[in-house]
Amino acid sequence: MSMANAFDVALVALLLAIAVWVVVARAAFSAIVVFIAYGLLVAIAWVRLFAVDVALTEAAIGSGLTGMLLLGAAARLRGTTASGRCGLTLRIVAAMFCAMISLGLGAVILTPPDVVVTLAPAAMANLPPSGLGNPVAGVLFVYRAFDTLLEKVVLLLALLGVWSLTPDRLWGGVPGPQVDAGPDGMLAFLAQLLPPLGIVVAVYMTWTGADHPGGAFQGGTVLAAMWIVVIIAGLQNAPSIDQRLVRFLVVVGPAIFLGIGLAGFALADGFLSYPAGYAKPLIIVVEVALTLSIGVTLGLVALGTPQRMRRQ
């Protein structure tokens, strides 16, 4: 067994052990803490699978933001929820059902098709005209741009869904904690030190995404994280959700994406195609706008429903 192989085996064992823990642990809180570590390990697994773009996304979203959301929820629900479980019979039936699915999936994994089918050559062959160097970005913004556009609408709807749960009297109010009279010393220090660095990282990630792993989503997540740190450190209030500017920032990325897509009708081969020679600059414009929108949207989603009205 080679070194790398031993590492993979250990990683998989750890992942499975944590997953079992997450499912059976008594307290929700510890299950979530362990789940965050799990997310980071999954990100390493993605690196081992040569999918660095996915690894970045998984670390940022799957572990980071999701973990934060769940931790916040567990803290607020603390003590209210007993780890309830359904009856033994149902559990046995469910266990058999799930084992069957796992076995089925495992069987498929163990019997790969004789001829491996892959779109990698096609994706690479068509990449040069777009000027991009990262084939994943090529898939996201050239071949399957339509998926990416709709996915941004999904994200927007998630925000709308979160906002829709606001009690009527707080509609148009401010989510997140209030600015403290005396901001928390340590956290405030972090919130002053980190954002300048974080913003540089976010810009770099977006910019480099055209040719190397990275891109709008990863950059946007870093932006969101910086914003959230500033807000929970009590340095700045979140904006109220009825502000035009906030809503504009949420929408600007998808809107520019849609606009450039529409321009394709007149200037290129139709919806979401780019005029020859202009693909890369246009994609970068879209990515920059999307980074901003994703950052603001993710931040707002993580902050949740408004908690109080703006002071007049």
Binding site: M186, L190, L193, L194
Partner: protein, 97 residues
């Protein structure tokens, strides 16, 4: 020269691993939150510091080295702040500690 550097790497990484082990044992064995934090920061500071130091000769100069050092710095920063926050929470909930 090569051999000396390799030995240095092996020693430093092994040292780092030892501190990680010690920190983890401390995390599991110590009684209260504050002493556990103490054990944990040792792993972070010394353990990761030694591993970083040991790996420096192996990476490209200067970009790789800069990356490694900034990894260490970021962990220092987040570790220090997280520790502070946890310690403060402990103090607030149990002023006797």
């Amino acid at each position: 020269m090569r051999l000396a550097l390799d030995i240095f790497t092996a020693l430093a990484v092994a040292g780092g691993a030892f501190f990680f082990l010690a920190g983890t044992v401390g995390l599991l064995r110590f009684r209260d939150t504050l002493t556990r934090l103490h054990a944990l920061t040792k792993a972070d500071n010394l353990g990761l510091g030694l591993v970083t130091l040991g790996l420096l000769p192996l990476v490209a100069w200067p970009l790789g080295a800069l990356k490694l050092i900034s990894v260490w710095l970021f962990v220092q920063l987040s570790g220090a702040i997280a520790t502070q926050l946890i310690a403060r929470l402990v103090r607030r909930e149990d002023p006797q500690a």
